[in-house]
Amino acid sequence: MKSTIKKIAAFGLAALMTASALASCGGSGDKSSEASKTDSTASTASKLGDGSKGKVYWLNFKPEIDETLQALAKDYTKQTGVEVKVTTAASGTYSQTLTSEMDKSNPPTLFVIGNQQGVKEWGDYALDLTNTDIAKELNTDAYNLTDDNGKLVSIGYCYECYGIIANPDLIEKAGHKMDEIKNFEGLKAVAEDIHKNADKLGFDAFSSSDMDDSSSWRFTGHLANLEYFYEEKEAGGWKECPATLTGKYMENYKNLYDLCINNSLTDPKDLATGGHDAENEFKTGKAAFFVNGSWEYAAVSEDVKNATMIPYYCGVEGEEKAGLNCGTENCWAVNANVSGDDQQATIDFMVWLVSDKNASAKMVEQLGIMPYKNAAESTNGFLNDAARYTEEGCYVMDWATNYQPNVDEYRAALVSALNAYNADQSDANWDAVKTAFVDGWATQYKAANAQ
């Protein structure tokens, strides 16, 4: 009798141990998914299955819209009975999360391929969206991404714009008018005057240009776009990532960059570490200019009612006709390796998001503008600025930045070079910035395209 109890106890303990030991391996254990073994090119738009039988799993990369998406997912499930799961991986860890999620037996059916590098890395996993229901809803194909064979890999679900956010009230307080800023000379005169009188005025021209990870992209990604864009414009538009840059407009990048760091609240030497809250400096009226994008509208317009956005004026000829930088990294791709039912369910869900009155209104509220025929109107002041520039006949500066090869490595090197330049604004240090900017592009292009 006793020995039976012992045996049972032993067995129980052993089972418990197995369970606890294996629990830690959970989630990563199921690697041999049938789904991911299916041929990636097998499915096309015409062969899609029955959407009502499928399910949707969206791996989202914008933390700020997570809450909205969760609510929308619930609504959709209530209305249609289709299961929708939304998981958010912050943009910094998106590629890591996507890599591991794609290997699971229930991989994301909807994910983000936001730039040309993404197309290179994940294009094989994306369904060709040509002529799908969602593609037919678009009102422009300006924000779509295609691969070298013309496959429609991903389509934009919203677009954004960036430039220099300005506080007209402060500029008037300093004795200037927004009308004076029509080109780089105008911007420079106003900014330098404000900086000179900063003590008297109680505010400075530019908010801090921190070089830590939470802020450096404003300069290595966004501001850098002016160089790429004018090169692209001169070349008659880029269809794919160029292997090299000429660096012809580096001087213009330097013009605006120098203006930002030298007419600001923060000593350039202190920028490497970061820790200055540029958004807050602008919101609390400590700075008149803030280099950022349309996603800041909600946060900024609460405090700065008249906030407006002006283009990157940098001393290029004819820049009086420049508009804002419009583009997107928010592009949906549908997983080519999930069942036809899931693909159809996913596309149905996407169509609902961009055409349903309530759903699209909520999306637009968070995302700004959606390039779809039946989507709600935008309420974002900066995007409306962008539209106004276009109406006035200004050229849109598209996001040539999206072509940055090996984007993380490329930008990291640029940050390091800019740190050295901020500490000591010598010609030698600027040459290193140029090298990282121009030659770094060629090097990273080679690395990204090596087989």
């Binding site: 290997d103 090996n406 940050v415 070079a417 030659d439």
Partner: protein
């Protein structure tokens, strides 16, 4: 005629009969959680892959690319230098602290606790905290830990000493307390000075502790990742004339990580090859060091 074979003893003893049941779960977990991924890792190091279920075999290409990568070579030497300096400093300081805390100083239990505490904080957190501390000081001089390779190097050394000394100290204290009283007494009676007692009696007797502490600090030095990532993340870079950059404070593990998520679809395999080389290196160094210090251990 035929002798009945005696029943194997193993089946008689119930504990032995049920041994597999106790061994089994851990063995299974070990195989699933370690052995299998390890074998798969070696296989993947010879593949080109993005997700591991769609891997394409490419042979030894990845290894060639890994050992010809200048950033890998740089990080190797940087790591080696770091490991040597940190092993020496950590062990000397930990032993010193342990020695004084076994001399019957008042409040030594409190000191032990305080010294051990940094070890309970995670590496990433430590990295960010220390980067604030260093930058707080360096900003007075108009610079930052991200600006100079030597700042990054010594910063990481200070951080690692601060974190590891307490842990090694505990091991040394255990070793020191295990030195038999009678040997110490004999040394005293024979008229040995304090210095002689330390080098001739105590140190040979704590050799097992020294073995384990050098092993731990050496492999920790080589495997260091989180602190490196959080403190400098490889900055500053040297921008070379061809536009490529060398991350001057990037150690091996971080280099592997950056390669994996860094450049292109072919780079995951290359990172995997680096990881296999890394394993061989750390295992070899660890074993050589163990063999070398074991020889110096004395039997009591």
């Amino acid at each position: 005629m035929e002798k009945r074979r005696p029943k194997l003893k193993i089946f008689k003893n119930p504990l032995r009969r049920w041994g597999w049941l106790f061994l089994g779960p851990m063995a299974a977990a070990f195989i699933i959680g370690f052995v299998w991924p390890f074998i798969q890792g070696i296989y993947l190091s010879m593949c080109q892959f993005k997700t591991i279920s769609m891997a394409k075999f490419t042979g030894f290409d990845n290894y060639v690319k890994a050992i010809t990568d200048p950033s890998f070579i740089h990080s190797f030497w940087y790591t080696a230098l770091f490991a040597i300096v940190s092993v020496v400093l950590i062990n000397v300081l930990a032993f010193t602290v342990a020695y004084f805390l076994t001399q019957g100083i008042k409040g030594s239990n409190l000191f032990r606790t305080v010294f051990f505490m940094p070890n309970l904080i995670g590496g990433i957190v430590l990295g960010y905290i220390w980067s604030m501390i260093f930058d707080g000081i360096l900003s007075h001089f108009g610079t930052s830990i991200l600006m100079e390779t030597s700042f990054g190097f010594w910063g990481l050394i200070i951080l690692m000493c601060w974190q590891q000394i307490g842990y090694m100290m505990i091991i040394y204290i255990a070793g020191l307390q295990a030195v038999p009283e009678d040997i110490l007494e004999a040394a005293k009676i024979d008229g040995a000075t304090k210095k002689q007692t330390l080098f001739r009696v105590i140190i040979p007797n704590v050799m097992p502790s020294i073995t384990i502490c050098t092993f731990l600090s050496l492999t920790n030095g080589f495997k260091l990742f989180d602190q490196n990532l959080a403190l400098t993340g490889g900055q500053p870079f040297i921008i070379q004339a061809d536009g490529s950059s060398i991350k001057t404070t990037e150690m091996l593990a971080l280099n592997i990580f950056n390669t994996f998520y860094g450049s292109n679809t072919a780079s995951s395999g290359q990172a995997q090859a680096k990881a296999v080389l890394f394993f061989i290196l750390v295992a070899a160094i660890g074993l050589i060091q163990l063999a070398a210090t074991r020889r110096k251990e004395v039997q009591q």
